[in-house]
Symmetry: C2
Subunit: 211 residues, 2 copies
DNA sequence: CAGCATGCTAAACGATTGTTCAGCCTGCTT
DNA sequence: AAGCAGGCTGAACAATCGTTTAGCATGCTG
């Protein structure tokens, strides 16, 4: 039944999907042809269609694969454990890039993933607030949403962050660690020492309202 | 010399560029054909090439246009004034989308823009530190870089943020304002009440080092 | 007035695209 | 042994792609 004619231990179908995931993530789905994917996977273009019906089907399969990775193996799981999730996004560069593009392209799966992140984050922050480890806020929803967007920002801007930090490889651990440390520092001690920024924004807002 | 045969007050060349900017921003350059741009601008496909030499040239022109908007009219300006810049990114949806994609696609102009943002932000934060309005940090570079990435995050995730906040239109002012307020709150008062998050990360880091 | 550059179009070019088709090979089943 | 299902390929399909060409119209310049 199983025809393992490749040297890899992966199914041919999986190899095609992985190749597509990587190329889609790097160049965007529109810039990648079925032939390029077939070449990268070492198969014929016809086989790609044979396994995934169409290019759209292949893109959906990539979406489903990434969604599965993030949701975890069990279907009833809303989300992976945060630690495993962080490790996943840290280690797999193709998944990072694909996800970043999916968020921008507005795919339904990416939207569901984002919503899941926000839900988990909001309850987590709420729990921390009860414990006293997280500061209260008058807009928990907006805070959770923005917190998620901020956590995902390095996923989109990793190239630029690494370049600004003077690192050649955007994916060497040092870059990620420095960024994480700086982020935790900002979210723990804050950036603005007093309420001047908030006040300035409030007054600017009032002026705009009156205008 | 000037042949204004269109009802608009824009040059035909500018209309083509604007159409390209919008379509590129929405779908990505690879998904948009010259014919689609020509249709949107109300001209023939050949005219697009006539004005911009090639599709790549059109993409470069869009890059240059956005760069010009951000840098300001004068060439010696490193960057627009923050207020005008914020207004620009707030009001022009096509520019937002185009920029977001440019950051992800890793265009050279987008990289230069990001670097400029970081430079301005870092000196601005440094000044604030001297004034006492900004808290000190042991990694000013990483903080400035991440600050920029966080400020740009809504540009990429605006659709998702608006959806999570229960708003239909991602670009109605309410969405932006709520997000800005939440962000300022997080950067002023912090999110974590004590050093537990930083400490947890430090110990996890130590474990990983020893492993 | 002629001459010429410029804005612009219609038509067509070859290349590449996603997709289909006919058929080969392999391994399992009966 | 016969037959069949499935992985897989090469060749070809029509459509669309970016680009080129020839030519029309306009308006400036000599």
């Amino acid at each position: 039944m199983l025809n393992m004619r490749s040297s890899s231990d992966l199914t041919t179908r999986a190899r095609i999907r992985n190749a597509a995931l990587e190329l889609f993530g790097i160049h965007g789905a529109g810039q990648v042809s079925i032939r390029a994917i077939a070449d990268a996977a070492g198969v014929s273009p016809a086989l790609v269609v044979h396994h995934f019906e169409s290019k759209e089907g292949l893109r959906r399969a990539c979406d489903a694969y990434v969604t599965g990775l993030i949701r975890g193996e069990e279907d009833d799981d809303p989300l992976q454990y945060p630690a495993e999730l962080a490790a996943l996004l840290r280690d797999s560069v193709p998944v990072r890039r694909y996800l970043a593009r999916a968020f921008l392209d507005g795919s339904a799966d990416a939207a569901a993933i984002f919503d899941g992140f926000v839900e988990v984050t909001q309850t987590w922050l709420e729990e921390g607030r009860h414990d006293g480890t997280v500061r209260p806020t008058d807009d928990p929803r907006a805070r959770a949403a923005l917190y998620v967007a901020w956590q995902l920002a390095p996923l989109v801007f990793d190239t630029h962050l690494a370049r600004v930090l003077g690192l050649n490889d955007p994916y060497e651990p040092d870059s990620t660690l420095r960024i994480m440390r700086a982020g935790l520092h900002m979210l723990t001690h804050g950036v603005f020492a007093d309420g001047h920024a908030l006040a300035a924004w409030t007054t600017a807002q009032a002026e705009e309202d009156s205008a």
